[in-house]
């Protein structure tokens, strides 16, 4: 049987013989193009969310190329599939860096995928732009976080509940993974300091569609509001079962931090009409930059498609990187990092500024209500962009987290 083994090893060796022998970190590639990596799940369970973000990143690159590229060179995206599997993210990140020698990588969605890629980027001193809101408590020198951290999304949402809705008691419902569990720890600490009572905390397995028991528990506890950190997929079942139990948005408001326009499309606007969400950007956000972005996105990918917060954050990430490269005059990660400090740009969500200290960006918090067309209308927004504080250092209640 050994012939098979022989042929396996032989194929492997010949298949890779063409590789370069060097494994130095990324630098400006020769020729007339600059390679950049795009690393999202194109297959598996996370493809639902990540494909749209990949699309917007490619759109940003196309726009940059149409204007002559970066440093006079066209961007050449190298697209890899993370396959909704965290080790694969790490492997493909390594491939993009050492084999394709990309100048920067845009990618990831779940915290798990980012945690898997983090050591790879730090080890190779290469840059990653991560486009999704997350649980905070991280600031890698080689990652730019273009989504919100907790003090730009969750805390404003809680304050909105307290100030505007006079909420006294909340119930926490989330999917069973890291973001909801960590976010809920922070919420509980905040609630304790702000006189709000957390009546309960329930987690459903990822992808679960059975929420009857959780809804029963919520109903028995009679909270003023639900804070929902469920992952996209489970939201459909959750909202349907809330409705079935006679708890529409008018009786029991739900604030969601993982439901954006793209998810509403899958849930169906009728099920979540009137529910609250917290993000930094909606398709309806006012401004000429956003109008142009939405128009370009729909023109490229179809009128039925919608834009939302992570889609925008992915787009902004590419633009911010390009601006930093122009400013630095080089794609060298250290120079890009230096040039990024305090870099300001007019993004679809409004003015964004990179905080040089933790490489997160200043973002405006917005609370929205889902309308019957499945779009989200802003009902409240913070006074100007909020300074990112991933470790919640400026909040006394967060000590000991």
């Amino acid at each position: 049987m050994a012939t098979g083994l022989l042929c396996a090893v032989g194929m492997f060796a010949t298949g890779c013989a063409g590789d370069d022998d060097t494994t130095t970190a990324s630098s400006t590639s020769g020729g007339n193009t600059i390679k950049v990596g795009v690393l999202h799940s194109l297959s598996g369970t996370m493809a639902i969310s990540e494909v749209s973000v990949k699309d917007s990143e490619l759109l940003a690159m196309e726009e940059i190329n149409a204007k002559g590229g970066v440093l006079g060179k066209k961007l050449e995206p190298v697209i890899e599939d993370g396959a909704s599997d965290w080790p694969t993210f790490a492997e493909k990140a390594q491939k993009l860096i050492s084999q394709d020698k990309v100048a920067a990588t845009f990618g990831g969605w779940t915290s798990a995928s980012r945690k898997a890629m983090l050591p790879v980027f730090e080890r190779n001193k290469s840059l990653l732009y991560y486009p999704v809101q997350y649980e905070g408590l991280e600031a890698s020198p080689y990652i730019f976080y273009t989504g919100a951290t907790t003090n730009q999304q969750i805390i404003p949402a809680l304050e909105y509940l307290k100030e505007q809705k006079k909420t006294k008691t909340i119930y926490l419902v989330g999917s069973d993974y890291v973001f909801p569990r960590t976010a809920n720890k922070e919420i509980k600490a905040w609630a304790k300091a702000n006189g709000m009572k957390v009546l309960g905390e329930e987690y459903a397995p990822l992808g679960s569609t059975e929420f009857s028991t959780i809804v029963n528990k919520v109903k028995a506890a009679k909270p003023d509001a639900i804070f929902n950190t469920l992952n996209g997929d489970s939201n459909v079942a959750f909202f349907k079962q809330l409705e079935g139990a006679g708890l529409p948005s008018s009786k029991l408001p739900v604030v969601s931090v993982s439901v954006a326009e793209d998810e509403v499309r899958g849930i169906g606007a009728s099920k979540v009409k009137g529910q609250l969400v917290a993000w930094n950007y909606y398709q309806t956000t006012k401004g000429a930059t956003n109008d142009a972005f939405v128009k370009a996105y729909k023109a490229k990918y179809g009128q039925k498609r919608v834009t939302d917060d992570p889609i925008e954050a992915g787009y902004v990430g590419v633009k911010l990187w390009a601006a930093a490269v122009e400013k630095a005059g080089s794609t060298d990660p250290e120079k890009v990092k230096a040039a990024s400090k305090g870099l300001t740009m007019d993004a679809p969500e409004g003015k964004v500024t990179i905080d040089g200290e933790n490489q997160h960006i200043y973002k405006t918090a917005r609370i929205g209500v889902i309308n019957d067309k499945g779009l989200i209308d802003t009902v409240w927004e913070s006074k100007g962009p909020i300074k990112p504080d991933p470790f919640l250092k400026t909040y006394p209640w967060a000590e000991g987290l």
Partner: protein, 296 residues
């Protein structure tokens, strides 16, 4: 007390969902011994059938499309099952483990095909107006869509029971299951019986898919989430035994809802798995056992 009643209702409702997804398996797995890992994808096909019909008939006919989807999904999923049987499974009788692996390959392909045809995004199946909301019965909130699924499960089970025990086709099916050679020798066309059994079993998966559209959104991995549970129901109930499957589904549903109520969702699932393994220690042949003179 009210809470307990609520949980019992939830348990029955979970049980009816389990029963629906497992019903088809009592035919293909129970009667024919075929482990069809693509069963979940037939469920998915049923769900997408509902979606396609709703898109085709337009917004005005949501309810019609939904009701029409039940027979159409039966035929669509049944035909897929029939093709699978004729093209692949037929060649693999007597090799149950290989069948399992081959149908897993089929499942992979079907899943990716759904992703390419309908997009990786989940799609929304609208509920008919009369399935929205719910009512209160003796202090228990009863959602209409749950009631509908229970009714559908009862109807499908009754239909399956009728086919198996009253029709000529059912008699032949039982004959082939109990002794294939003897049935063949008595003039039963076993190949044709196999095809029909498989059509029926797969078709029932399609019907389950229609019901599932009322619970969550419809996506390529819809069926995968249920497949293990469905097999466990059949194994725990006893192979090919409708009665066993019904009892197993209801008991598992109740266990799940009550344990979840006192603990949490993730833990409940693990505990239920452990209970099944423990149960099979005492009764490896399931709740309702096939009488046999075999050794095992």
């Amino acid at each position: 007390m009210e809470q307990l009643l609520s949980q019992i209702f939830v348990g029955l409702s979970i049980g009816s969902i389990l029963l629906l997804v497992a019903l088809g398996l009592t035919f293909t797995f129970g009667q024919m011994g075929v482990i069809n890992m693509a069963h979940g994808e037939f469920i998915m096909a049923g769900a997408y059938t509902t979606y396609v019909l709703q898109q085709a008939l337009g917004d005005g006919a949501t309810a019609t499309a939904f009701l029409l989807a039940i027979p159409v999904a039966l035929v669509v999923a049944g035909t897929m099952g029939l093709l699978l049987e004729v093209l692949l499974i037929k060649r693999l009788y007597g090799r149950p483990l290989d069948t399992l692996l081959v149908t897993w390959g089929v499942a992979l392909i079907l899943q990716q095909a759904a992703r390419d045809i309908f997009g990786a995004q989940n799609v929304e199946v609208k509920s008919p107006g009369w399935l929205d909301g719910g009512t209160t019965l003796i202090g228990v909130d009863v959602a209409y869509n749950r009631l509908f699924i229970m009714a559908l499960a009862v109807a499908a089970t009754a239909g399956a029971w009728y086919v198996v025990s009253k029709l000529k086709q059912g008699r032949r099916m039982r004959a082939v299951m109990q002794n294939r050679q003897l049935a063949a020798a008595s003039g039963v066309k076993t190949a044709s019986v196999d095809r029909r059994t498989f059509f029926l079993g797969s078709g029932l998966a399609g019907v389950a898919g229609v019901a599932l559209t009322q619970l969550g959104s419809v996506g390529p991995t819809l069926g995968t989430n249920y497949i293990i549970d469905a097999f466990l129901v059949v194994v725990a109930g006893g192979l090919g035994k409708l009665r066993g499957a019904v009892i197993a589904a209801v008991v598992l549903g109740l266990c799940n809802s009550l344990i979840e109520y006192w603990t949490e969702a993730s833990l409940a699932k693990v505990i239920v798995f452990a209970l099944i393994v423990a149960f099979l220690q005492f009764r490896p042949q399931g709740i309702v056992a096939q009488e046999t003179r075999g050794l095992a």
